[in-house]
């Protein structure tokens, strides 16, 4: 079975301290006022006394979905789902920052990096993993609410948690079902805040135009084939072509 790198998060352990967000910002040089990850609070003030509903702090980031709508919105394949690791990857070299993928994420996990001018989002810190370290947010988390690993590997911490809690894991639902790979153990609060994957009009236009363009090219190609056919069948009947 191929890998599926994912986060299994015990949202009930999150104290909303923002260490993960700060660590991510430093580790990935995320520009001011832009964020690759977040903690979403559900914090209605209950009646005092024995609390029937506790506050929920939901850590999140790119969910490296199985049905990544962002990938559908990318014309060049600069963002793609890695079949080996299950990550949704951005190829910085190929991305020109057109922004198509940003509204295509129903979780608003993507943004256009103001310094790099390219699409940006959580990438599970590949440089750190290459150095044998966990992603920055996971490494730094005070209560170890965030657990990262291959959920298909039963030996990994993430896989173990995933298996142990299978059946009662929560995923954040969106109006577009992207099949996210971020699993919450413990109540993450509002599990339905995901929005709709919006593909920009220009991308829609390009997709709509594609068959037409192909049609025109095909028509032209057919014409050429016809001419070629005639040239070979009818022979060279052009008297002007006698000399050169």
């Amino acid at each position: 079975m191929a890998q599926q790198l994912a986060m299994v998060i015990d949202a009930a352990k999150c104290i909303d301290c923002k260490a993960c967000v700060a660590a991510c910002k430093v580790a990935n040089d995320v520009p001011e006022d832009q964020f690759r990850n977040w903690i979403k609070p559900t914090q209605d003030v209950p009646a005092p006394g024995v609390l029937t509903a506790r506050a929920k702090f939901q850590p999140g980031a790119c969910m490296h979905c199985d049905n990544p709508t962002c990938v559908d919105a990318c014309p060049t394949g600069a963002t793609y789902k890695d079949p080996e690791t299950g990550e949704v990857v951005i190829d910085d070299d190929l991305c020109i920052g057109c922004g198509n993928c940003i509204p295509a994420c129903p979780y608003h996990a993507r943004f256009r990096n103001a310094a790099k001018r390219k699409a940006d989002k959580c990438n599970y810190c590949p440089e750190r993993r290459a150095a044998g370290l966990p992603p920055a947010c996971v490494d730094t988390c005070p209560t170890k609410a965030r657990v990262f690993g291959d959920v298909n590997d039963p030996e990994s911490e993430a896989g173990r948690l995933y298996r142990k809690n299978k059946g009662r894991l929560t995923r954040v639902a969106a109006r577009t079902d992207t099949k996210p790979n971020m699993f919450y153990v413990g109540d993450p609060g509002d599990p339905t805040w995901g929005g709709e994957a919006v593909v920009p009009a220009s991308m829609v236009a390009m997709k709509e135009a594609a068959p037409l363009v192909k049609g025109v090219v095909a028509l032209s190609g057919l014409g050429v084939l016809a001419m070629l056919g005639r040239q070979f069948l009818a022979g060279n009947d052009s008297k002007e072509d006698r000399d050169g």
């Binding site: 070299d93 020109i96 920009p200 363009v213 050169g244």
Partner: protein, 242 residues
Amino acid sequence: MAKMHKRHDKSDILIHWFNAVCWVLLLLTGVGLIQNPAIDPFGSGYPEAMRSLVGGGGNLLAIHEGIGLVWIAGFILYLIVNFRGARFFLAEVFSVSPARDMGWMLKKMVLMTLGPKPLKAMGMDPELPAQGFYNMGQKAFAQVSVAGGVVIAVTGVIMYLSDRTFGAEATGWVSWSIALHFIAVGLVFAGLLVHIYMAAISPEERPGFKSMFTGAVPDDYAKHHHRLWWEKAETEGEQPTE
């Protein structure tokens, strides 16, 4: 040697072949940059192969951008060096005489694909109306190429600048540029197929093809294919070469 007519000067020939080479390379690389099942023109194998060939999508993009910039620079240089030639070319390709040129176009399409019989059967004269420096087919393709070329160049530059100078507020422009770039290339490419066939494969236009290297066409060819230009050249006493 038969009497020849000068048709293109050196800079015309150079820009044509420069354009041709750029186009081929830009097409090869550009098509490799589109990798989305919904728009991918040739299926997903080609982009992957191209990217592997040059060591990654980023390299392919860089190559494409590099050639694109050279292509634009080449045209700008041409405009500076041979502005008169360019003006002549534009004036020629955009001056269309509707009745004659359309008639030529229709008849030519039928002739090339089906031969003269259908025309005769319909009681039409298979003889083509006389054409000027360019025939209508060449003009049509040139028009598409010029308009498409401008769109392609402008959108290309916008995309090129996207991750270099543009902020997030410009992504709409960039995104639309991608779409227009793609559509424009597609349309020009459709014409290009015919152009290549007509110019390089069809035996009938072989002297024209040759003139793209030598700059001159035989008197006979000129008379037959570009009668109006031939007449003008004759009356104005243009010195035929050799």
